[in-house]
């Protein structure tokens, strides 16, 4: 499973690693300010530091693992993920509450995080097995649809609408990147549009209300709508140059909820202004473009699909999270990669980055280890 030698080490992508470190440092500095209370940094900051260190270890492990190992174990990982999701569901039913965690001794596992990686790897596996065929015909796409539907369905039940949506976005991104027959694309769009009113009719009024609020937060002026306004004020009042480190007012008080997780970008934009926001945006989008570059140069289709999947995962999280903070996206609880507080997300994202680097190291332009 581990295969690493001098030649590979030489191929290590130092640029990508440096970019990741810069983003992590920016995130830590921002979190320091976001959770700074009563004149001292809060426990969130130190916890995050621990998570980052743990995540970096995970990333190193991910780098060392060969792409063949990922390829050979994709199906097992997928099955394990489905079982864990069902377990969480059953456990939630027993305790009659929403449940996203599985406790294994001192470690809490969040299977919905695992689901993102499982989906990406299993898609890579599937495309690899179909390698000679370029654009898969409709009947070859049925199985992938079923695979993603199972994961998304189980996660919607938790209920974790945000992660389920993210899974679908990753799935369709891979599909489009790898190419879809025009007929399939047309059928999907038309079929989806036709199915919507049917599904809508089956929903209970409170479910409709929740979805409408999801799309238009202003329908809930005392909840999500209020959060959006507060976030916009925070971002807007940052101006061109920002209020300065630790000088943000909007986020310090409890006006802005979840300012260390979902609205962490608002804190940054308030304190560092338009200029700072552009810098952090460039860093994040550079990471995405870098991921696309890894995909383009991958030595086989598995690597290509996995790199695209991971890149899509970063991209959509970034776009949805920042879009929410500046009021152009629905309020979904999706954190900003590498900047938001949270252990599970940090571990998943760093591990995914490790996989990306592992693929990068074994690119076709380098001598193949086989």
């Amino acid at each position: 499973m581990f295969k690493i030698d001098r030649k590979l080490l030489k191929n290590f992508d130092w640029g990508l690693a440096a970019l990741a470190v810069v983003i992590l440092v920016v995130g830590l500095i921002n979190l320091y300010s976001a959770t700074y209370t009563h004149g001292k940094p809060s426990h969130y900051f130190f916890h995050q530091l621990v998570w980052i260190l743990a995540g970096l270890v995970g990333m190193c492990v991910a780098i060392c693992i060969t792409d063949t190992f990922y390829y050979e174990n994709a199906i097992i990982l997928y099955i394990v993920t489905v079982i864990l999701l069902i377990l969480v569901d059953v456990y939630g039913m027993i305790t009659s509450g929403a449940q996203r965690w599985i406790r294994l001794g001192p470690i809490s596992l969040q299977p919905s995080e695992l689901a993102k990686l499982s989906l990406i790897l299993v898609m890579g596996y599937y495309y690899e097995t179909k390698e000679p065929i370029d654009i898969l015909p409709f009947r070859s796409l049925i199985l992938p649809f079923v695979l993603v539907a199972i994961l998304a369905g189980l996660i919607v039940k938790q209920p974790d609408l945000g992660t389920a949506l993210l899974l679908l976005l990753i799935f369709f991104s891979i599909l489009l990147y790898e190419g879809v027959p025009w007929k399939v694309l047309g059928t999907l769009v038309v079929g989806g549009l036709l199915a919507l009113p049917l599904l809508w009719g089956h929903l209970k009024p409170y479910q409709k209300a929740r979805l409408l609020t999801f799309i238009d937060p202003n329908r809930d002026p005392l909840g999500a709508g209020y959060h959006i306004i507060q976030s916009k004020i925070a971002v807007g009042s940052g101006g061109m140059w920002g209020k300065g480190f630790l000088k943000g007012t909007q986020c310090k008080l409890e006006f802005l909820p979840e300012h260390h997780t979902d609205f962490v970008f608002s804190v940054f934009a308030e304190e560092w202004g338009f200029v700072g926001s552009i810098v952090v945006l460039i860093l994040l989008f550079l990471l995405v473009l870098w991921g696309l570059e890894v995909a383009r140069n991958a030595r086989n289709r598995f690597g290509e699909v996995v790199a695209v999947g991971i890149t899509a995962m970063f991209f959509w999280q970034i776009v949805i999270n920042i879009g929410m903070a500046i009021g152009i996206m629905p309020v979904v609880g999706i954190p900003l990669p590498f900047l938001s507080y949270g252990g599970s997300g940090m571990l998943t994202n760093l591990f995914a980055l490790g996989i990306l680097m592992s693929i990068r190291m074994r690119e076709r332009s380098y001598p193949s280890p086989y």
Partner: protein
């Protein structure tokens, strides 16, 4: 190894995704430009002292009525002086002003503020509720000079009849931090009021309604400038109790000055018509902010006014339990209606002599005479023939030893002992001598007054054990019925009509025959059936300030139903340390039944 895929243009694959990513980037950048550069002035202004705020509009809590629609509990407006710490400019000046106007010590104001440290800084903290008009006028006149001072209009719970039915209605109070953690998901905030006791607690969900609120833009001093969005509150539902105000008032009056409990129930439906526990309390006082001292005085009061004796007080049922022993004996066939047993005034069992309350003895008597004269020795013998487990089976069939399931909080189950229980509790076998005590309702047996009323109701209605109902229906603000509580039979008691009629005629005799123990409950033109009981207070608990003689006086019981032929009301009366049931409890039932049948116009 690497297969070149030919179908797609490599150029598109390399360029198209990058274009999508760049478009997203540009979209976000242009939005940031709009917010941070073009709209900077607007957002900068709004960010100063947090100009956009959320203010709550509390929902009006549902009202509580009696069964005939008489209002028992409603809401009155209350003006509250509040401080929003975020807006306060000059703390010391504000505190000394409030101290002068509200006649409070500055330290106390500070303490009230500090006690609410878990509120967000822009949430108003109430310093004093129920301000007088003079106080409000003074504050209103100086409002502009003291940013951060607010006068809030909140509603105050008002219990129209004070202490009436206080244990049933309950009271509301400010939500505690513990409750808040548990209820946060259901939309509760710090400072909300929540049902703490009685129907106010069990029907919290129905009474509460849904809070509204508005997004408002405020000026630098925290004053409203413009309402941006508003959501109207939804008022809570109204509750209609099964209680009748008139009957409740009468029963409260009869129990006045006594310590004890009384319950009147409709045996055909299980609806509670009146239910009294004395001493009681005034919920109006509890709804106000009590000082720690007042609260301590209330809960450490030796007469326990907060204890609902009807469902939380457990007492040995005394001779009223003989109804159960009689049913068990007849049903199990250990005695017949005609069986004669001899009472010489005592029963020798083992090395002890168990006495009958009548020293001279009852002589040779049947079950009918034994019920009428409440002969202890007769029932000792029945109990011995039955054994404890068969006796316990019938007691449990009558609903004793378990909660009745009334919709009130903190109900107690009482206790019906049997061999298994004793083994578990004391790791000891059951002694037969203990069966003697149980057969006459002493020893380990504990019942609540409500259980005994329901037992009497089941004797009256032919053996159906009903669930006691305290709420008849829930209606929304328009008067539309949302929920109805229909009579519900918990179980049928395993008793034949033949046996039941023997019991019923015995109970009639208790009130109406010459040797009956409850002639004081007799009415002129209505047949009343009943049973007296005297529960021994054997165990000495703690030393108390009360005189010893009063402490050791027995509890007086009386259970009854009327009219005997077709009962419409069943009841139980318990007077703590009242002495003999026939003297202390039966007259209360008699007077209540007279009022029930004849109405207030006669008396």
């Amino acid at each position: 190894m690497t297969v070149e895929r030919g179908g797609r243009s490599k150029l598109i694959r390399a360029v198209f995704p990058v274009l999508v990513v760049l478009m997203a980037f540009m979209g976000i950048v242009s939005r940031l430009w709009y917010l941070q550069v073009l709209q900077y002035d607007k957002f900068h202004r709004l960010s100063l002292s947090n100009r956009i705020r959320l203010k709550a509009i509390p929902a009006i809590r549902g009202m509580i009525f009696d069964r005939d629609g008489n209002l028992l509990v409603d809401n009155r407006p209350s003006f509250c002086a509040a401080i929003v710490p975020e807006d306060v400019k000059n703390r010391e000046a504000l505190f000394s002003f409030l101290s002068y106007v509200l006649n409070m010590k500055i330290d106390e104001i500070k303490k009230r503020l500090k006690g609410k440290a878990y509120y967000a800084s822009f949430q108003p903290r109430i310093i004093k509720a129920n301000c007088s008009t003079v106080e409000v006028a003074k504050m209103q006149a100086h409002l502009m000079e003291f940013p951060g001072l607010e006068i809030l209009v909140r509603s105050r719970r008002h219990y129209l009849y004070g202490k009436l039915a206080s244990h049933i209605l309950g009271y509301i109070g400010e939500i505690s931090q513990r409750e808040l953690r548990r209820m946060k998901k259901e939309g509760y905030h710090p400072g909300d009021f929540i049902g703490k006791y009685g129907v106010e607690k069990t029907f919290e969900k129905e009474l509460k309604g849904k809070e509204g609120g508005y997004q408002v833009e405020v000026d630098a001093n925290g004053r409203d400038v413009k309402v941006l969005r508003k959501v109207d509150p939804i008022p809570g539902h109204n509750i209609y109790l099964t209680l009748s105000l008139q009957l409740q008032q009468k029963l409260e009056k009869l129990m006045e000055g006594k310590s004890g409990a009384a319950v009147a129930v409709d045996p055909t439906t299980g609806e509670i018509l009146a239910m009294v526990s004395h001493p009681n309390f005034d919920p109006n006082l509890l709804t106000k902010r009590l000082t720690a001292k007042q609260w301590k005085a209330l809960i450490s009061d030796p007469s326990h006014p907060l204890l609902d004796r009807t469902i939380q007080g457990t007492y040995p049922p005394g001779s009223t339990f003989k109804i159960v022993t009689a049913v068990a004996g007849l049903e199990e066939g250990v005695i017949q209606a005609s069986t004669l047993l001899f009472c010489p005034g005592y029963l020798k069992f083992g090395r002890r002599s168990y006495r009958c309350w009548k020293k001279s003895g009852h002589g040779k008597i049947t079950i009918h005479q034994a019920i009428v004269g409440s002969c202890d020795v007769f029932f000792y013998q029945v109990g011995l023939k039955l054994g404890i487990n068969r006796l316990a089976f019938y007691a449990k069939a009558f609903g004793l030893g378990r909660k009745t399931g009334i919709a009130l909080p903190h109900e107690k189950a009482g206790l019906i002992p049997d061999t298994l229980w004793k083994k578990r509790r004391f790791h000891e076998p059951w002694f037969e001598g203990e069966t003697l005590s149980v057969a006459i309702g002493q020893g380990y047996v504990l019942t609540t007054p409500l259980q005994m009323a329901m037992l009497m109701a089941s004797v009256a209605n032919g053996g159906k054990l009903e669930r006691p109902l305290i709420v008849k229906e829930v209606r929304d603000i328009q008067g539309k019925v949302v929920k109805v509580f229909k009579p519900q039979i918990v179980s049928r008691i395993p008793v034949s009509e033949r046996v039941l009629s023997i019991i019923q005629s015995g109970l009639w005799g208790v009130v109406n025959e010459p040797h009956g123990t409850a002639h004081r409950a007799r009415l002129k033109d209505i047949n009343v059936s009943g049973k007296t009981g005297t529960a021994q207070v054997i165990r000495i608990k703690r030393r108390s300030s009360q005189p010893t003689s009063e402490r050791f006086k027995d509890h007086a019981w009386f259970v009854a139903y009327a009219p005997s032929e077709a009962p419409t009301v069943a009841m139980s009366v318990l007077v703590e340390h009242g002495g003999h049931g026939g003297e202390a409890a039966a007259p209360i039932a008699g007077k209540f039944l007279r009022f029930y049948f004849d109405g207030p116009e006669v008396y």
